[in-house]
Amino acid sequence: MSIQTEPFILNIGPQHPSTHGVFRLRVTLDGEVVVNVEPVIGYLHRGIEKLAEGRTYTQNIPFTDRLDYLSSMTNNLAYCLAMEKLADIKVPERAEYIRVIFSEIMRISSHLMAVGFFINDLGAMMTPVLYMWREREKIMDMFEMVSGQRLLYNFMRIGGVSQDIPGEFLPAVKKFVAEMPKYLDEYDQLLAKNEILLVRSKGVGILPKETAISIGASGPVLRASGVKWDIRQLDPYSIYERFDFAIPTGEVGDCYDRYWVRMQEMRQSVRILEQALAQMPEKGEVCASVPQFFRPPRGEAYGYIEAPKGNLGFYIVSDGSIAPYRLHIYPPTLINITALQDMVKGWKVADLIIIFGSIDVVLGEIDR
């Protein structure tokens, strides 16, 4: 005799610790097996694109902080790059180095959070996160030195950065760069061969290469699927062409590969930081001269970078006035969650949580 069954619909979120923000998942289950997921977003929608149309170009920089609030500095950079492309502004040499140093520190900070909370989702409640936070705290201190803020920095400006770095900053970065490989080894020792991590993440939530390209995934999610695509190297912006670093790629595109790619990228960031610190000019201008009421010429520009979570872009249309005619934000994580449906089918609810955690989402960026 067969038992009659029917699909069960489970609502996860919007307030749920494993959704990393206000994100809702409508999950269709067959027993405990996931049949389909439907992400419901927009709970954090603040209408930044509309608000930006009523504010000057410089006033829009603080908005960019509030997109992916775990990597504010790189958001500033992408916006400023778009503006510099539009108005053809040359950024001073020292400012370029400061930007690269901040971008790479930000990448380490963002990946520490991503890896920490990924392990947290696996059930290692808070302990790994606090290990990661030990280093992130030092990074926060460094940002506080330069901008007075610990989360939303509003530090970069069109044409450079808002102010020169203080005297205590470079020694702190040098100390951090010297120590970081040791800490990364420590994480590897604790995690890389951890049986629970391996069993729960190897082969789980596979995203095939072709699907990853088709859905437009970027960042560690795309690279974990085996696509060697990093804008820093393949389409260098700022001064990234001067640095020597590798692009770590995964083999199968499972949760473990996404974790592994992030761990390796932190090592590469340390390498870039070492080179940048060695090459950085001692003195110099930190911002090109840009008028307070900046009026770029009519036209459009698309500035994009390899943000910690993927390809972040700003598409700006200017009508020659002091405010953008249209500002579009292209967020990496909105695109990366398209992959969720493909990755979770056939896995259990507990796996859904870690697959979602392995994408590394920030809702400020998805909802804008």
Partner: protein
């Protein structure tokens, strides 16, 4: 370095395959007729030497006289990029073909444009609001929305 293919260059290739489909082309982008957009999309993805397999962003701009839908395409194989645009002159009931079946990256982005601009994408399997709730009236990113 990703080579940005100029609109003129790609415009010639598209015009050879689809005569009369180019509205205008300049250094930065090429504007095509929305009626043939889907076929041009397939052409750009499958033609050897072009192979634009990766759609990065898709958005719309409201120029009051018309809506401009912007696609930025990248080829991971050849490392080149292209800005493709199409226009829609109807404000009451704007419709353009969906490119969902060519690039799945359009899935959420077309829903977003539908949500914020009210442009319908014909052929999208699940066209509904993305960021705003279902009962919301109006489309906030239109210039006449106050």
């Amino acid at each position: 370095m990703t080579v940005a293919i100029t609109g003129e260059e790609i415009g010639k290739k598209i015009a050879e395959a689809f005569p009369g489909s180019i509205v205008s082309s300049d250094k930065g982008s090429v504007v095509v007729d929305s009626k043939q957009l889907y076929l041009i999309g397939e052409f750009l993805k499958n033609t050897q030497g072009l192979e634009f397999d990766y759609l990065t962003f898709l958005t719309a701009v409201d120029y009051i006289d018309y809506f401009e839908i912007v696609y930025r395409l990248v080829s991971l194989k050849h490392n080149h990029s292209l800005m493709l645009k199409t226009r829609c002159y109807d404000r009451e009931n704007p419709v353009v073909p969906s490119v969902f079946n060519i690039w799945r990256a359009a899935c959420y982005q077309e829903r977003e444009v539908f949500d914020l601009f009210g442009i319908k994408f014909e052929g999208h399997p699940e066209l509904k609001r993305l960021l705003l709730w279902d009962g919301f009236k109006g489309h906030p990113l239109r210039r006449d929305y106050l």
